[in-house]
Symmetry: C2
Subunit: 362 residues, 2 copies
């Protein structure tokens, strides 16, 4: 049963993915939305098919699909599945996509993507499905354009022959497929002809750096070495790092950065040893309602999650773990903030405000 | 075949281990020297028997026995095995213990222990074995006394109800059995009636914190939680750490600290968030010949060692790893240095010099 995407109409889209060498986290097919199971990478490369918006909601909740850009694209293409399952009943669309729209409450981009597609479909009764598909593809292309812009701005900060230290995964599979945030900067530097090397921190307990960032860089033929999460100072002491680039879960109005636990330690080492430290981000990650990092709640995840690796225990049974999943890097430790509209330098409040207003003041 | 240790003469010694609730890394038996295989802890508790000094040399080289104090005790008891295997041929002892004496070139304590025991045996022809055993037991007791002294000095720095963050393993199994360096401080605080809690960093890639420190604390009934190596800043931001205590591989004359990779990041976070940071050490670890940390060579171990956990790969095959096994924590980040003769405060050079001279200037 075809549920929405016309294969012939999608041909041009597939060609685009192919030609641009995109590592897309998901893509439309005649049967539904195909997506990579990111929890099993790199040991297994599994592609699953979502037949409904609810299937995509489940894929987000189980972390098969993760990362701001990828979640946005899941919202856009998932909404088209809702429309195509009841093309002549627009009153049902919101209900059919409600679970998807709420699948990751912190990701504002998800709600925005669902709403954009449903709105476009509602505006074209009779050709609602086509309108939804077009809106979803447009959303996807807009994400890609944003990643390329981040790459272009950010790559100017990467020296030829330089080694970039990064943490966790802020890459293509967390975005629309070019390079997400951080890997767009690295990819754009390589595409600009610079010889770049990457050191990826493994990022315990879930090893997103070891599993996903390293895998993406191998696909892109960019040299990468793996380090553990305790090595930033040692590597800088030996002069092995030229620049640090990390992603961002959320940025406060003053530039305080909330990102995967371990990020702040890299920034502290960067200040001590004179290595520039940047975050690559977009306006989707800026929260002007939070004046500084202290006003952003940091999630404490179940401590048990640190007690094993891939199901294998790392310690004696009977003890507990502790797992603050993010840390706050004070704005004072950031050399700059790479965005889709330029590189912000301190003080960050004016630049972040302009970014959110879509103004030209960057 | 009995090869040296008279069970009846050892009874008092065993009683001492029992009464003091020591977690001894090794102990003499009628058949030879029993030692714990520390590479398999805590998943398997395996005790092996060394029948010769060469057996103990192999146990040190394979990391079954590790840590400065434990290696010293292996040297002392191993030398008695050399003496007892040729009690009337003192000219053979040096040859029989040569492999043991050289099993860990950086551990000065090992050579010292072997020499002390052989010297004592040579001084008592006719009762050489008894003299060697007595010298080895004396060496062991001296190590224990040193650990207790570190504990007594150090525990004054631990607040009642406080949480101590530590890294890697600097505990009983790395010492003679009381608590080595760091765990002596923690154990002494608990024995002084303070309610203490420990957060142990797992210490990738070999997980000494998760495997050994956590296991020892469970044996001592001291509450412990496990964290990963990227969490120091996050934990301090949440006010969850009151004091940091780590071990020391080597201290330069100015107080620069060389210790397991990841240590410097804890110290940097400590300075940023106002959490005191101490190293617990002994005169065996001080190298006055090195003016500062830059003059201590840092071992780069094979990068492949970071690519797996317990034999299981953590990343895609075909990429390399990078493994600086130690880092340098600048003396300026140390709140104090806990030694067997007192707590040193900055500037450290006079105190470290007095410590090495065995003087009273501490």
């Amino acid at each position: 049963m075809s549920i929405g995407f016309d294969p012939s109409a999608l041909e041009e889209f597939y060609k685009e993915i192919e030609q641009q060498r995109l590592l897309a986290p998901l893509w439309p097919t005649a049967d539904g939305v195909a997506y990579r199971d990111q929890t099993r990478l790199p040991f297994e490369q599994v592609v699953l098919i979502a037949h409904s918006a609810n299937d995509l909601a489940a894929a987000i909740q189980s972390m098969h699909i993760r990362g701001s850009g990828a979640i946005g694209c899941a919202g856009a293409f998932g909404a088209t599945l809702a429309v195509s399952s009841a093309p002549n009943h627009p009153e049902e669309w919101a209900g059919l996509s409600a679970q998807l729209r709420a699948a990751r409450p912190t990701a504002i981009i998800l709600q925005k993507a669902v709403d954009e597609v449903l709105h476009a479909a509602a505006a074209q009764p009779g050709t609602a499905v086509e309108a939804a598909v077009n809106a979803a593809v447009a959303f996807f292309r807009q994400q890609l354009a944003m990643e390329r812009a981040i790459g272009q701005w950010g790559q100017t900060l990467i020296p030829d022959g330089g080694t970039i230290l990064t943490h966790c995964n802020s890459g293509a599979l967390a975005g629309a497929g070019y390079g997400g945030r951080v890997l767009s900067v690295i990819r754009a530097a390589a595409e600009a002809g610079k010889h770049v090397h990457v050191i990826a921190q493994e990022t315990r307990p879930y090893l997103q750096g070891a599993r996903i960032t390293a895998w993406e860089l191998v696909q892109l033929n960019i040299p990468v070495k793996l380090a553990t999460d305790g090595m930033a100072a040692a590597l800088m002491q030996k002069g092995l790092v030229d620049v640090c680039v990390v992603g961002s879960d959320r940025l406060a109005a003053n530039g305080d950065l909330v990102n995967k636990v371990g990020t702040c330690l890299i920034a502290l080492a960067g200040r001590e040893y004179g290595v520039p430290f940047y975050t690559a981000t977009t306006h989707y990650n800026v929260d002007l309602a939070c004046p500084d990092g202290r006003s952003i709640p940091i999630e404490m995840r179940p401590g048990d999650e640190v007690l094993s690796f891939n199901g294998q225990p790392v310690t004696v049974s009977g003890i507990g773990g502790i797992y603050p999943s993010f840390d706050i890097t004070p704005a004072s430790l950031l050399t700059g903030i790479i965005t889709e509209r330029g590189v912000l330098l301190p003080p960050y409040t004016p630049g972040l405000t302009a970014l959110m207003q879509g103004g030209a003041g960057i």
